[in-house]
Symmetry: C2
Subunit: 209 residues, 2 copies
């Protein structure tokens, strides 16, 4: 039995979808970011970083989306959520996830988390103004090569697809025009039609209501 | 035969050390960042991101430090550079590397690469001033828990150690006092004494001369 801590609208959605696609026995616990629950003493015992996702397993707690996604894929090999038998292909999947984590997510985070890297209000405003450009630039590489199609890694659906879908959901709020990214938009549409994705989105929305 | 593209002072050092520790047959190609070689048409064919590291393999090119490190560990299992037989322990190593990539490296990058996330000179200056605080905060978590000791993952040396050493080398330039991080400082000392690390540092310095 796994327990996933998440908050709506965050990258934790990728791990949530992966657990569902894997057929894992899990529960999803919603943290209220508006009430700053991720910084509560109780939660900091689970994840001292004060962030989501955190996946509680029988062996301990895992954090960081790329690590959780690879763990789910390796722990549920029958679900075929990563190319586990091929170190090069597995590394390509890891590289994709690392790019989403360290470049795409970081670009997006400058809209509302500028205090992590600066102190002045004028800097925060500048960062906010720059998000559309940095997100569009990052997604240009995805649109024009990294997304092999139809799925990220080609014919086989993997955890990379759950992660790409998760960060692509931020594009509209970041004022990036999806019409400039037709392959990404097509990928989002196909993702939204998957039963596991529908179920997870539905569950997150029901708990938020 | 692998080919690693690197530049001195960058995170590519981690992959360089990992290849050396693995006993891999490789060559290391130095890019001149001052001449902007990483943005040359020739190099963009290797890595469209215009960054290092890039590892050329017989199967294609790999990018992103966490992905390269896991690939080297999986491809050279005898070197025991990651806990390959235990999905949870492997995920812990991945989580550590992901934190260095997406939090520590990103914090450091705000010193000189602010243009990725903002446009104004005043923002760049603000970001530069904030680097000491953000790097110190990130390393506090490493010092007080993530670094199990004596090596990152405990008794077994892994690719995480090469990566931690690489980013810890930035602390002095980022004005973080190593005296506040005695366990990290001790780790750096032991890393610097490893034959593979000495050899790689020596090679990078010789090529830079």
């Amino acid at each position: 039995m796994y327990k996933l801590y998440y908050a709506p609208g965050t990258c934790a959605l990728a791990s949530h979808i992966a657990l569902e696609e894997a057929g894992a026995d899990y529960s999803a616990v919603r943290l209220d970011f508006k009430a700053n629950q991720q910084q509560s003493q109780e939660y900091l015992k689970v994840n001292p970083k004060g962030r989501v996702p955190a996946l509680v397993t029988d062996q301990g707690v895992l954090t960081e989306t790329p690590a959780i996604l690879a763990y789910v894929a390796q722990t549920f090999p029958k679900a075929k959520l990563a190319p586990l038998g091929d170190a090069f292909a597995f590394a390509q999947a890891q590289a994709f996830n690392s790019y989403l984590c360290a470049t795409v997510h970081v670009a997006h985070a400058h809209k509302g988390r500028g205090y992590r890297w600066a102190s002045e209000e004028s800097s925060f405003a500048d960062m906010k103004r720059t998000v559309t450009k940095s997100m569009a630039g990052a997604f240009e590489l995805i649109e024009n090569g990294m997304l092999k199609g139809p799925w990220v890694m080609g014919d086989q659906y993997t955890v990379c697809d759950a992660y790409l879908y998760t960060v692509a959901l931020w594009l509209e709020g970041d004022s990036v025009d999806l019409k400039t990214l037709p392959r990404v938009a097509d990928h989002m549409k196909r993702m939204s039609e998957r039963p596991a994705v529908k179920k997870v989105i539905g569950e997150q929305q029901a708990k938020a209501a």
